[in-house]
């Protein structure tokens, strides 16, 4: 793992990272790879199913659909950065 690769990787996640931050990240990856060997070496690990949740919910069921009002436009605009003519103004997408 090296800084150049991780910088490119961060950019694919849509953020930038400084050089010193990348150095920390490289060392974290080195630790991570070492620790992953611990998991690889657990006897019989391949026989276990991956665990997605702590336990199976035996009484899970879908709720009934209930008709209700959605957000009012006043509420919907509360977190919009820009509002124009009753619409949310978004960044220009098509050049």
């Amino acid at each position: 793992m090296n800084k150049e690769y991780l910088k490119k990787y961060a950019r694919s996640l849509e953020f930038d990272m400084e050089d010193s931050q990348l150095e920390t990240l490289v060392s974290e990856f080195n630790v991570l790879f070492e620790q992953m060997n611990l998991l690889d070496n657990l006897v019989g690990i391949s026989e276990y199913e991956p665990m997605d949740f702590p336990f199976i919910l035996d009484d899970a069921c879908l709720r009934e659909d209930n008709v209700s009002d959605s957000l009012s436009s006043i509420e919907a605009f509360k977190n919009a950065k820009e509002v124009k003519d009753g619409c949310v103004k978004s960044p220009k997408v098509v050049a």
Binding site: L6, Y9, A10, R11, S12, L13, E14, F15, D16, M17, E18, Q21, T24, L25, S27, E28, F29, V31, L32, E34, Q35, M36, L38, L39, D40, N41, L42, G44, I45, S46, Y48, E49, P50, M51, D52, F53, P54, F55, L57, D59, A60, L62, R63, L71, E75, A76, K78, N79, K81, S90, P91, K92, V93, A95
Partner: protein, 473 residues
């Protein structure tokens, strides 16, 4: 204001009490920095409710309609939700009065209390030490007596560790016992809502209010129809607990050995009440995998859960000449260093070519641990361990907080077992080491919340540390 919930309920003028609490919260800000937002208006929505007029604080990752909710991150520094989380809604319906939203580690990742966008939270017992995180401000607001209870969230130890470092009770109920609707998700398979208070009874009273099935959270459990506050005094003399030999024996420093001494003393007192406590051996290799498992699963889930933080839909937005540039600038400035590192690692382990070796193996190892624990729970009612191998560590620069370490610190990482298996788990003060509090953590089988609180109440009675308060001079 060092009062229990029941004592507060006897006070006639709750609005006057609220104003006193607010003054105290504001006064403490420059020293402790517990709050992102301090409320200015007394709002009690149910004068007849179980918690009518009782002040409390709420971690800043619970949605509160019309009230700033930042997750202590710059990317959400101006986000005001338009809906209530279920927990907040239930507390409003019970008449509880919100006094403030508390500082946390950014987006609930991290265990120091140092990485919130409004600055580091201080430990009231010693301002040079961390309070622990991520629910740092919540723990501090209870430890100093500002509020009788606070709500936090716990994905690895984020309620129980700060509870130990600040000398309060911190409870993480069974996975699904409390709805997470409106809680900012960190790692969905590990996230729990938790409660802080200064005694077990107050924890039980609050949990009784917030628990229960919720149509807005499909992972919630059916109500168990037990009022936890009513079963705290049940006889515990037939209960059988264990502790893990390899974790206790991992104490190497003078301080951790002192913690173990206090722990053993507590166990002896518990035995004198008729509780059986036995030593059990657990595969050390598996215990050493606890943190790597957590790190991989939580990074992967958090990367996915936070991908909606783009600057478009909500939250802060930086300028740019294209949508990509807007997103890039927003995320670059909006996330702190530790968050970026975790997202890169999370995304890496989710890559198709890495999934089998990294992500899926971590999830397999998680199952290995949970199955072994469930096997032990067939014979035992729970296990106890020191919450940490020492007192709250000294403060470090926030960019150095929560780095992945190559040391296997079993005494620091065992709380993760509670999240892997969704077990009810509670931390409470057991003594003082170097003039700072240290905690004991009890973890019980899934869905046995009532028993967990019952045994915890018994532990509290032998430690003599009920209603511990730290007044900051």
């Amino acid at each position: 204001m060092n009062k229990s919930i029941e004592e507060i309920k006897l006070i006639d003028n709750k609005e006057e009490l609220f104003n006193q609490v607010i003054d105290e919260c504001k006064r403490s800000q420059s020293t402790l920095n517990s709050f992102v937002t301090i409320m200015d208006k007394y709002e009690c929505f149910n004068k007849e409710g179980v918690l009518s007029g009782v002040p409390y604080s709420l971690k800043d990752n619970f949605s509160t309609s019309g009230i700033l909710t930042t997750g202590s991150s710059n990317i959400l520094r101006d986000y005001v939700p338009v809906f209530d989380s279920t927990v907040y809604k239930k507390l409003k319906e019970a008449g509880a009065v919100l006094v403030g939203k508390t500082v946390m580690d950014e987006l609930a990742m991290g265990g120091s209390g140092l990485t919130g966008h409004t600055g580091a939270v201080k430990n009231p017992w010693n301002l040079e030490h961390i309070p622990g995180g991520s629910s740092a401000g919540s723990a501090v607001s209870v430890a100093t007596g500002m509020v009788p209870f606070s709500i936090g969230s716990d994905t690895g130890d984020s309620v129980r560790k700060p509870a130990s470092f600040c000398g309060v009770v911190g409870y993480k109920p069974t996975y699904g016992r409390v709805s997470r609707f409106g809680l900012f998700p960190f790692a969905s398979s590990l996230d729990h809502v938790g409660v802080f208070a200064r005694n077990v009874k107050d924890v039980a009273i609050v949990t009784d209010v917030i628990k229960g099935r919720d149509d807005f959270d499909m992972t919630t459990l059916s109500n168990d129809n037990i009022k936890y506050a009513d079963v705290l005094d049940k006889d515990v003399s037939a209960k059988k607990l264990f502790y893990i030999k390899e974790i206790v024996e991992s104490a190497k420093t003078e301080e951790s050995k002192e913690v173990i001494r206090v722990f053993n003393e507590t166990l002896d007192k518990l035995r004198s009440k008729g509780v059986v406590v036995q030593e059990v051996s657990f595969d050390k290799k598996l215990l050493e995998c606890l943190y790597p498992i957590y790190f991989i699963i939580s990074c992967a889930e958090s990367t996915s859960n936070n991908s909606n933080l783009t600057g478009f839909i909500f939250g802060s937005r930086e300028s740019g000449n294209s949508p990509e540039e807007v997103m890039f600038n927003t995320r670059s400035k909006g996330f702190g260093e530790m968050i970026k590192r975790r997202f890169v690692i999370g995304s890496y382990v989710l890559e198709r070519e890495n999934q089998e070796k990294l992500f899926l193996n971590a999830k397999r190892a998680r199952r290995m641990i949970v199955e072994k624990m469930n096997e032990l729970f067939k014979e035992y009612d729970g296990f106890v361990l020191p919450t940490s191998g020492g007192v709250a560590p000294k403060t470090i620069p926030n960019h150095e907080a929560d780095r992945l370490d190559d040391e296997y610190l079993l005494l620091e990482n065992h709380l993760l077992i509670g999240n892997f298996g969704g077990y009810p788990s509670i931390t409470l003060p057991m003594g003082m080491v170097n003039d700072m509090p240290v905690g004991i953590t009890l973890t019980c089988p899934q869905k046995e919340d009532a028993m967990c609180l019952n045994i915890a109440n018994s532990i509290e009675s032998v430690t003599g540390l009920k209603d511990l308060v730290c007044e900051v001079k």
